[in-house]
């Protein structure tokens, strides 16, 4: 037991601080990707609900393709494909320049594109679920389109979509474990180093799993509280 604490603890030979740093990177990637996904989701839902034929077609293709592909394939595609695209562009401007795409940026972009495809569907459904009378009543009061959306439609849509959006956060958090594959020093990346160094891979991956589990459980508590707050207008009694 004391060996274990020495290995993963915060002592001078422990991996505690490294794992903590990895956990912070993981949460940063997941949170940035999730926020990016929400922004894409709002745009995508707008394109699907209000867009012209072209915008609708693009949004439809985007959600169908991204949701049909393995997450890891998209991550590799964005990371390596993005690197060679940027390198090609840079080569045109200044030949001989080597450019590496940041694994963090590529991971956030890829995971954001993935969660954006799902949140597009969530927002679309949730906005459709808001009774049209709500929108009409607000318009009758003289509110502008943006104000109607921001003050009347969005809050109600969020309340409807909250469970699905909360679930999407949990999925994005777990998917973020995949970006270690392109070499990011996230929780899984750090654990791989620790496993190789100490020859105790099970211990390290178990600790990482437990950290993920803790993050998931804390998230679930927070999401439950947010859901209660967002739906406070419709509780009975």
């Amino acid at each position: 037991m004391s060996d274990l604490i020495g290995l993963i603890g915060f002592g001078d030979k422990g991996w505690g601080f490294a794992l903590l740093g990895g956990a912070i990177v993981t949460v940063e990637v997941a949170a940035s990707a999730y926020l990016l996904g929400l922004a894409i989701g709002l745009l995508g839902a707008a394109a699907k609900l209000r867009g012209g034929r072209i915008a609708r077609g693009i949004a439809e293709t985007y959600t169908t393709v991204v949701r049909g592909l393995p997450e890891i394939l998209l991550i590799l595609f964005v990371y390596y494909g993005g690197t060679s695209a940027v390198r090609g562009l840079a080569g045109l401007v200044a030949p001989g320049v080597t450019i590496e795409i940041d694994a963090f940026a590529a991971g956030v972009a890829a995971l954001g594109l993935i969660s954006g495809a799902y949140s597009t569907e969530v927002f679309r459904g949730a906005i459709l679920a808001v009774a049209s009378g709500q929108r009409e009543a607000a318009q009758a009061l003289g509110l502008g389109r943006w104000l109607v959306f921001r003050k009347v439609v969005l809050p109600q849509a969020l309340a409807v979509g909250m469970p699905a959006l909360g679930n999407l956060w949990l999925v994005t958090l777990k998917d973020s474990a995949l970006i270690s594959v392109v070499g990011l020093r996230d929780l899984v990346g750090i654990a791989a180093s620790g496993a190789a160094f100490s020859r105790q891979p099970f211990t390290f991956y178990m600790v990482v799993a437990l950290i993920f589990l803790t993050l998931s459980l804390v998230s679930m508590l927070a999401l439950g509280a947010m859901e209660r707050r967002l739906t406070r207008g419709r509780r009975e009694g």
């Binding site: 393709v65 049909g68 592909l69 393995p70 997450e71 890891i72 394939l73 590799l76 595609f77 390596y80 494909g81 690197t83 060679s84 777990k174 998917d175 474990a177 995949l178 270690s180 594959v181 899984v188 654990a191 791989a192 496993a195 020859r199 105790q200 891979p201 099970f202 211990t203 991956y205 178990m206 990482v208 799993a209 437990l210 993920f212 589990l213 998931s216 459980l217």
Partner: protein
């Protein structure tokens, strides 16, 4: 892009396709078989059955699959007992480890779906079974479980697609599935787009095929739900109403 290169991509990726199909099919079968006892344990009145099942499902659903897979493939070798056991030939084989971890993972998700279906069976049906003298085990085996499983079948298509997508990570433990073959070609040739886009098309085609196959199965299983052909009276009534 030369013809030889395309030929190599397609050939290797089709080899990978076979591996992907084996891994997904085996995990699908094993995972769902495991899901039944897991769901039953999860709703058992006995605490020593319920709690382990609860913790297992929580762990499997609350942690990333890739970490679970690393625990099995890289992790288990840490223990001498495992290395000396008769299971070692399986546990050091990447394909077996991939199938084991995907099965254990999908079993947890399926068990939760099945649990919902079991609890959703109308109370009167098991009660009727008990009233004609069936024991608890018989009620579960003959009445509740068959009804619940029929409820769950439509979600199986979705789960299979999720499993197919999840299976792409097995290349990280050196399995040469579709993704693995594509990644090897990418690393060897420094060409990113051709292998990855071909792999993407294969995955999309598989998703499409799975959707179609399950639609056929559902149609066939739902035969008894199709309405009988209308009688002449009904035809006439429909005509007059319109």
């Amino acid at each position: 892009m030369d013809a030889a290169f395309i030929q190599r991509i397609v050939g290797n990726l089709l080899d990978g396709l076979v591996v992907t199909l084996i891994v997904v099919a085996a995990s699908m079968v094993a995972g769902n078989l495991l899901a039944v006892p897991l769901a039953l344990a999860r709703i058992s009145p006995r605490r020593w059955l319920r709690w382990p099942a609860y913790v297992y499902i929580l762990f499997m659903r609350g942690t990333p699959l890739i970490v679970q897979m690393y625990m099995i493939y890289f992790g288990l070798a840490q223990f001498r007992e495992v290395r000396q056991s008769f299971l070692w030939p399986l546990l050091r084989d990447p394909v077996w480890c991939a199938i084991i971890s995907l099965s254990l993972n999908t079993a947890a998700y399926s068990a939760e779906i099945l649990r919902g279906a079991i609890q959703g069976v109308p109370k009167g049906l098991p009660e009727a079974g008990r009233s004609i003298g069936l024991r608890d085990g018989q009620v579960m085996r003959l009445i509740t479980l068959p009804l619940a499983i029929r409820q769950v079948l439509p979600s199986l298509a979705n789960e299979t697609i999720l499993l197919l997508k999840a299976s792409a990570i097995v290349f990280t433990i050196t399995v040469r599935d579709i993704m693995g073959e594509a990644n090897i070609i990418r690393a060897q040739t420094f060409r990113t787009y051709e292998p990855l886009i071909t792999a993407a098309l294969l995955y999309l085609a598989l998703t499409f095929l799975i959707t179609m196959a399950f639609r056929l199965v559902e149609k066939r299983m739902g035969r008894h739900l199709v309405r009988q052909p209308k009688t002449i009276e009904e035809e006439l009534r429909d005509l007059t109403v319109r």
